[in-house]
């Protein structure tokens, strides 16, 4: 039953997102397709050459009835056809594919560091609740995570990139570089990755930290923790073995939100660091009003988040024996 509801929920979400993507440009006031029909009153200064225009017109099929348009739209997506990017003059999927790997690298690295450090700090804080360590960590982390990611990124660029010259301030690798070994290439990529990843982690760490801390505090009040203490076990051991696993249960159900934060953060951080990922593409698409690309990037981002949700469900089953046996 639980599983069916879950699958249904995902199905509904995907359906809603796709429909949303379909209807949004069609119901917006001010006709976003004005650029296609060459309406001069539009404030969107997109000049199209005839070839692209023909491609777009056939993709959107605006002359057909709405139900046909919708059917074509879904069919196209199932064939991996996300439309034609105006700005890049290439299929949207081809444009996105190149940047997807960078986003995955950035989000993946940051998420691992973020989860590990946030959970550890939250657990320590809960364990030392009411003591100096807790108060200090709490104030420090709440303050730190009040920095918007884009502002933090800008500060990092100025401080570590420009003033100290320690890190490159844009891109995912040094342009026109000939790497003599693949090791050198990896180092270069990591060098570019570090600042954006650090920005993402630091700007968002407050969420997981507070979540772990609260969850841990609840768990530490449970009877089985008393049982563990009554056995004479050490505090550190009780924290690790008895408390943490239980505390992670509610956290794993929040992974959807966490993934949402991280991926949202990616849009801003990639923009600030000119990191060539999907988020940066989304921003570019906004700037040049490349609607097909914008919608494609949005869809990929949403699918990433849904994938994160699925992963969270699987982690939950792994953590909680009570679910496994049902």
């Amino acid at each position: 039953m639980h599983k069916i509801t879950k699958i249904a929920t995902y199905g509904i979400i995907i359906f809603v997102i796709l429909s949303f993507n379909f209807f949004l440009p069609r119901i917006m006031p001010g006709d976003p397709f004005a650029f296609l029909t060459g309406d001069p009153s539009t404030d969107m200064p997109v000049v199209l050459d005839a070839g692209i225009k023909a491609k777009l017109l056939s993709y959107y099929g605006l002359d057909k009835p709405l139900s046909m348009q919708y059917y074509d739209y879904i069919a196209n997506i199932l064939h991996g056809d996300l439309g034609w990017s105006i700005y890049y003059n290439a299929p949207v999927w081809d444009v996105l594919r190149g940047s997807l790997k960078w986003t995955l690298l950035l989000v993946g690295t940051s998420t691992v560091i973020y989860m590990a450090s946030g959970i550890m700090l939250g657990a320590v804080s809960a364990w030392k609740k009411g003591k100096r360590v807790d108060a200090g960590l709490l104030t420090f982390i709440l303050s730190l995570s009040s920095f918007p990611s884009f502002f933090l990124g800008l500060l990092f660029i100025i401080l570590f990139g420009v003033d100290l010259g320690l890190f490159p301030i844009s891109g995912a690798r040094t342009p026109f570089m000939d790497y003599s070994t693949s090791f050198e290439e990896i180092i270069d990529i990591l060098h570019h990755l570090l600042l954006p990843a650090a920005t993402l982690v630091i700007a968002h760490i407050g969420g997981i930290y507070l979540l772990t801390r609260n969850s841990m505090l609840n768990v530490l009040g449970e009877d089985y923790i008393l049982t563990a203490r009554a056995k004479g076990l050490r505090e550190g051991y009780i924290m690790r073995r008895h408390a943490l696993k239980n505390a992670l249960l509610p956290i794993s159900t929040m992974i959807a939100l966490i993934a949402g934060f991280m991926i949202t953060g990616t849009i801003l951080v990639e923009t600030v660091f000119a990191y060539p990922g999907v988020g940066r593409l989304l921003y570019e698409a906004v700037l040049v009003r490349d609607y097909p690309l914008l919608q494609g990037a949005f869809m990929i981002i949403t699918l990433l988040i849904i994938a994160a949700n699925l992963a969270a469900d699987m982690i939950y089953v792994y953590l909680d024996p009570r679910v496994k046996h049902k």
């Binding site: 009877d223 008393l226 049982t227 203490r229 009554a230 056995k231 004479g232 239980n246 009570r322």
Partner: protein
């Protein structure tokens, strides 16, 4: 010879509404191989007494008095020294097995970890010992059960697992907190039988609000009311010759004695009644009872009571 001697114990919890005087004041002895029953209504401080012996109360708790165990005052031990006593010397079987077992760890592992810690066995040996323990509390196919999680156990089975966990390191004193609560009659009797068996040649503090169960296991019974003891006697004397009006009322409220509840409610532990704490509910209360706090007096050998009716 006494194994545990509690003198002038007070346990107070500072709270926003005021000081909760959960224990005020208790003197109590448990002899070697004695099984002492501690009975009283819910909320009178039984669990708090057990917890203060193994010192599992939160740090803000105000504790006064002495708790002597094998020549040491437990209240003066460091946290590290106390850890060596918990589970190994004194085991507490906590109330409510459903919430007291960790839901995400296998039952066998939860038993084995204490064995590994206190007896210095390696993981495999501890695990084997855990299976033995499950067998000794009469859990069928203990091998298989050790690999299961608490939610796969029935209520009675969980209680058995808790008992196995408590006994795992062969402690000298067992504190069993309401181990029969919430079980149906047949299971309850099985658990009673088991506890009687496993506590042979050990000391046990048996906490319950079920006098019937206490009489089957215990040598002596201490009756607790609002944070203090009001009567202490051999088990049979409590039944044949209950002295304190509270004990008498308690007996009358038992199902086979007429089910007559004591009138009124147990008092708030923040504002205790003046004089005798039981006087607002007592049919024999005199003016003196409302003013003066009666002392605990030994009426005959091994039978003490806290009531002006006998002095």
């Amino acid at each position: 010879m006494s194994l545990l001697t509690i003198t002038h114990l007070k346990v107070h919890f500072p709270t926003q509404d005021g000081m909760v005087k959960a224990i005020d004041t208790i003197d109590l002895e448990i002899a070697n191989s004695e099984r002492l029953g501690l009975i009283g209504e819910t909320g009178c401080g039984k669990t708090v007494l057990g917890m203060s012996i193994i010192r599992l109360l939160q740090p803000s708790t105000k504790i006064e008095g002495e708790i002597w165990y094998k020549g040491k005052d437990l209240l003066k031990l460091s946290e590290g020294e106390m850890r060596k006593i918990r589970g190994k010397e004194i085991a507490m079987i906590l109330q409510n097995p459903t919430t007291s077992l960790n839901p995400v760890l296998k039952v066998g592992d939860q038993i084995a970890e204490a064995i590994q810690l206190h007896q210095g066995l390696d993981k495999r040996a501890a695990r084997e010992k855990a299976v033995e323990m499950l067998e000794s509390v009469k859990i069928p196919s203990p091998d298989k059960r050790a690999n299961e999680y608490p939610h796969e156990f029935s209520g009675g089975m969980k209680e058995r697992a808790m008992i196995a966990m408590g006994l795992a390191c062969n402690p000298s004193l067992i504190i069993a907190d309401e181990p029969t609560k919430g079980l149906d009659v047949t299971i309850k009797m099985q658990i009673v039988k088991l506890l009687k068996e496993v506590s042979r040649r050990k000391s046990m503090l048996f906490i319950t609000h079920d006098l019937g169960v206490a009489t089957q296991i215990c040598d002596n019974i201490a009756v607790m009311y609002a944070g203090e003891l009001v009567e202490y006697a051999k088990t049979e004397d409590v039944f044949k010759n209950p002295l304190h009006p509270y004990t008498q009322g308690f007996l009358n409220s038992l199902p086979n004695m007429g089910l007559k509840p004591i009138r009124g409610m147990s008092p708030s532990l923040i504002d205790l009644p003046s004089g005798c704490r039981f006087h607002p509910r007592c049919d024999h209360a005199s003016a003196k009872c409302t003013i003066e706090h009666p002392p605990m007096v030994e009426i005959e050998k091994g039978h003490s009571v806290r009531c002006f009716l006998y002095t």
